[in-house]
Subunit: 597 residues, 2 copies
Amino acid sequence: MSTTALQDTINQAAGFTAADFVIKNAKVVNVVSGKIELSDIAICKASGMIVRTHERHIDGREVLDLEGELFAVPGFIDCHVHIESAMVTPQVFEEAVLMHGTTTAFCDPHEISNVLGADAFRYFIDSAENMIMDLMIGLSPCVPASGLETAGATLGADDLAPFIHHPCVYGVAEFMSIGAVLDHDKGTLDKLERFANCQIDGHMPFGVSTAMMNAMKSCGIRNCHENTDIDHACEKLKRGIHVFIREGTVCKDAKRLAAMVNTFQSPFLGLCTDDRNPVDIAQEGHIDHVIRTLIAEGADPVTVYRIASWSAANHFGMAGRNPKGWKPRGLIAPDNLADIVLLKSLEDCDIHAVYKKGERVSAAAFEQRRRVRPIGYGSIKIPTVPAHRLRQFGDPVNVPAIGLVPDQVVTTYEEITLPVNQHGELLSDPENDVLYIAVIERHGRSHGNIARSFVKGLGIKHGAIAVSVGHDSHNITVAGATIEDMTLAVNEVIRSDGGKVVVKNGRVLGRLALPVAGLMSDKTDVLETARDQIDLLDAVSALESPWQDPLTLLGFLPLCVIPDAKITDFGLTRFNPAAGIMRPTLVNDQRTGSPPA
Amino acid sequence: MSTTALQDTINQAAGFTAADFVIKNAKVVNVVSGKIELSDIAICKASGMIVRTHERHIDGREVLDLEGELFAVPGFIDCHVHIESAMVTPQVFEEAVLMHGTTTAFCDPHEISNVLGADAFRYFIDSAENMIMDLMIGLSPCVPASGLETAGATLGADDLAPFIHHPCVYGVAEFMSIGAVLDHDKGTLDKLERFANCQIDGHMPFGVSTAMMNAMKSCGIRNCHENTDIDHACEKLKRGIHVFIREGTVCKDAKRLAAMVNTFQSPFLGLCTDDRNPVDIAQEGHIDHVIRTLIAEGADPVTVYRIASWSAANHFGMAGRNPKGWKPRGLIAPDNLADIVLLKSLEDCDIHAVYKKGERVSAAAFEQRRRVRPIGYGSIKIPTVPAHRLRQFGDPVNVPAIGLVPDQVVTTYEEITLPVNQHGELLSDPENDVLYIAVIERHGRSHGNIARSFVKGLGIKHGAIAVSVGHDSHNITVAGATIEDMTLAVNEVIRSDGGKVVVKNGRVLGRLALPVAGLMSDKTDVLETARDQIDLLDAVSALESPWQDPLTLLGFLPLCVIPDAKITDFGLTRFNPAAGIMRPTLVNDQRTGSPPA
């Protein structure tokens, strides 16, 4: 701040001069005291900071009088989000979520960095610098997430280090490799030591023991958003691991965790969305939806608004002045960013308007930004896949397979018996909900790896689905009832330069193009992507799966850092911490030693 | 942490190997959840960190079994202390307070830096590096505290800047100059801008308006320990200014503020001692005494222990990993320093043992430290003062004087009528509790300034008292019934190279030598200094003051940044914010333009 700006701040704060902008007669929710007070809020426009509040009759050069009709709460903070799951670019993401009150988000570009490496950090930083909301970027520490898959890049501590001091970078994101920590893996410990004085986010899903929690926490890992069980979450919390309550598209935890929300624990909680698709954002909302869900479950509203704002800001070192020069936030109080959400009702969290740095969020404001050109075109670096490479042969008895678990991304390990044809080829069994599955390496960094297996529980009766979103390496993942439809689906993904495809009886029924790293649309309107997603789900309904979105489910089946049976381009993997298996192991190695004929 | 150390931490945390030291079967107070749980606490000795807890039956190479008899709470944090008020050096201070559970203290070397300038920072840093407790040092921003006094040094932003990145330095201490902020004083705004991304402590005593609070908070000032009125403190709190509850020797605020202590507000509170003399530390305790006082007033014990530990650590950015590499603290949880206080009763806070970084605090441990040689000898840089320089002449009607207010350091401005002798000399009037007072510049940086006035309410019937501790510039301050005894007292302070002196009828009744900058004893046992202080108070009782410690009261009479009438070596000052006077003004300029004859 220049001396003149500081003088201006002092003058407006002390009331020597009128404030630039005053929101008058708001029902201000004070998340310090827990009280709600009718008050004005004075904002210095040059800094975007609140300079004066908790009093009335403040003079303003510009005034908005709420006449006691609306509540004012601090802007919401998403503690952990993968923007890629919204299938839009960061600037389009902000258009979708700012209206829902999310004024700051801590994102982990884990998906795109698995495809593009450090270029993904540069792209997200460039985007963050041209956004209205504060997009804080975590450096993805697990690229690749395991040693059992081919990602588009490999990022070591030396690759992350150049970015750590950037003001848009908040620290190290989701540190998933628990097994590697316990095994003293050199590259893993290297990162923990290099970034020992930084924020490091955690990942401790159900099944992670208290011993592993102790170890991860002792390595400086401070939070976890993988909380599907309240007792498990409480074990983390009491060890000082901050618990982020998530409402994503696939993982919906708020109802299960609502009983943790109390005043005493409130500083150690946060809200997040993790993975949320554009349809859910458009239809249900974002952090506002998490807030509504918790309050509907009986949580105290003011406590929930504290968790959505100050608790999150405080966790990330943004509640006060800080070495990175981030502006403090999380309170409606002086020296806090004027990130303010106006609500008609606290319980319903029905948003009337959102102010970011004292400016009303509007379509016109979005028009002012420099549009950042997406990167990551041409990320599908493989030729057409012939049908024969998807076929499987062998003993049809005790064939290892993946078993789906309803409403979860964890899976089971199954051994099944399959039909077989006269050539000894193992066949799918849609009648018994057994389908083919395959993962095709698409970064051009292996010798054409294609792994094949079977999946039970996806529920598709006909055709095939294929996606270039396959966590975490984002190879092409395909599942289906017939080899022919699978082949068509995979090649349609390749032809589209990435996306999601639905095929039935040799016809492409639906296609969502995701040309940005094979993960995101380059359309500039989130509603268009939401509509594309709705069309895709319409198309997939022809395959008669009981799941609303089997394509997203399919995309989690290569996620071998989540238990139990998964499939990567290396082959089928297992990871069962409940049985003492601390990291994924390869069940059947299907790697291609040399380029296929 | 080296890779080997990290591996060791992981192994002990995960239970792969026995922990170095385990405290077994403690009633662990969890200030995250608010619950008390019978649990073991495993400590890795190499790092001094807790690695594993909230479970039982942990294997340890060394074990202490509490058999469920004792509570374990996180080490206490003093959020704001002037060690100089304990009249001992930092290493002796820690011997006094560590036994009372204070494992971390945020100190402001404001007194010694007013005498010695930046050398004081070097001395405190050197001391901190050779202590067991964590002494965190704030850079004193107000040296001198006002423009109306001669201090031993003048420290600008350039003088503070070289120290700000030192790991023992937590930020900028007590920013007192509210008037200078409101007046846009250049040197003051310069400091606020240079340290805009740093912690800056506040000072907003009763009388500071909400407008001034807004201005100070908007400048990044984040806390206040000057809370003598609960409504005034709540005005700060709701603006996001953290409120530190103080129990010093002169200022005792805990009873008045106890009703603020509730679960919701607990993250925004802290405990402090500010100025506490060695007798009170020895007899009543330190932060443990603040805890006891709050609980006795009805505050919830677990909430009080949270405020004493995590809330304080969190405020100062020490609750998690941080850019300065400070070890996290404030919880009994993994990745927290093993700063643990064992108590027989939560309510009584009766300390059984204190562990710092997992080591039991003991006399033997203190012996291991390198003794840091005190500095600041020879800080009284003036010759003997002749009696005539203390005499006052003039109109005996409406003479401006200082009025004392019981139990407070604020004063009133009085106009009194005095006796006068045949030479026109104004005389003291001990019958009506009116005494002479004078401040003698002792740094050798003026032309022999001596300011004289009268004080009402000190209650001394005979003799005189003189001190080289005179906040904040620490010139020699003397008050008494006769000019002869005052002259003897002043010259005895000079002859002693600093200290506190009691004189009656031409005889020195008591003397406490403070040769370290004229502020602190160089004795190496706090109990000896406490005994010296008790002897001094015994001596002063002969002067028949109703105050237990009129010498300390006298030392606050030059403190012109506190309202209202005060006296510095420049003359009598006034500062009455309730009347809109934002900073001290000089009532009668008594500066000596040239060296006296």
